[in-house]
Symmetry: C2
DNA sequence: TATTGTTATACTCTATAACTATA
DNA sequence: TATAGTTATAGAGTATAACAATA
């Protein structure tokens, strides 16, 4: 379902968000990476962390993260090593090659944003950011029927 | 992946759009309908049309629409009848029960929008709509490699 | 031969629970 | 007994191609 069925603001935001996400994912894949793998590199960029904390930060199930890290490690973009202090834990760290790939990804995302928001002035982009920040305060309430 | 990995505007729009979509889908399901079935009723509300045209309007594959219409028809919310002028065609029409269900759906979506955008003034909502309308002009270019 | 709707198939994504090794 | 990571399984969603009826 890709066509707007009404002129409601909620639909407009949802559909434009979807299109924007598609464009961003295309940019994330520029280095030959699966978009979610590129997202994982982004999360790892500030510093190493345990696999569990990484899953929490990304809000994905730990079991999903396993496949992502297997691929990143096979490509030499990230590495897992046992935490000597607690040998159950894996410390996940981005590699130099991973940082280089992330640099290319970041450039592609920047280019995508210039395309997406190039029609807006800097002031308008700031305005849009401010308005979006004030939308959707408690989204999860209706997912699980709280 | 539900957590923002950067403060980029593209990510913000994509993620807020995702959350908004989730809230809207919850509202669409209020009448016991699958969200995409409710969307289909919305498309049918203005008037009957052929199954092919309906698929085109919704931008879904005709084969996906089959299952949707089977369910809507089983629930008595829409009906298919052969086009006498071209017996290959099905004319799809919303029923009275379908229109009633759609009324409940519409009320729920309105309530969802009041929650989502209640923090914004009417003027701000209009502003947001205007800004969103000027984003993402040619989204498909990067999906299929044009 | 082309078109409309349908069916069948396969592939991705996601959610869940069971399993191991360590604590 | 609880926790970190892993594996296996099943479900939803989607994309594609083959098919029957009609033009």
């Amino acid at each position: 379902m890709a066509a707007l069925p009404s002129d409601r603001l909620g639909f407009l935001l949802s559909f434009r968000g979807e299109l924007t996400g598609a464009r961003i994912r295309a940019a994330l894949g520029v280095a030959g990476l699966h978009p979610r793998n590129a997202m994982t590199l982004m999360q790892l960029a500030p510093g190493a962390m345990s696999q569990r904390d990484l899953a929490a930060a990304m809000e994905v199930d730990p079991s999903q993260l396993v496949a992502i890290l297997n691929e990143l490690e096979a490509d030499g973009l990230a590495e897992r090593r046992r935490d000597p202090a607690d040998r159950r834990r894996h410390i996940v760290k981005i590699t130099e090659a991973g940082a280089a790939a992330l640099g290319r990804v970041d450039a592609a995302v920047g280019e995508a944003e210039r395309e997406l928001f190039g029609g807006l002035t800097e002031a308008e982009q700031t305005l849009l950011r401010g308005l979006l920040d004030r939308v959707v305060v408690n989204p999860a309430d209706h997912e699980c029927g709280e």
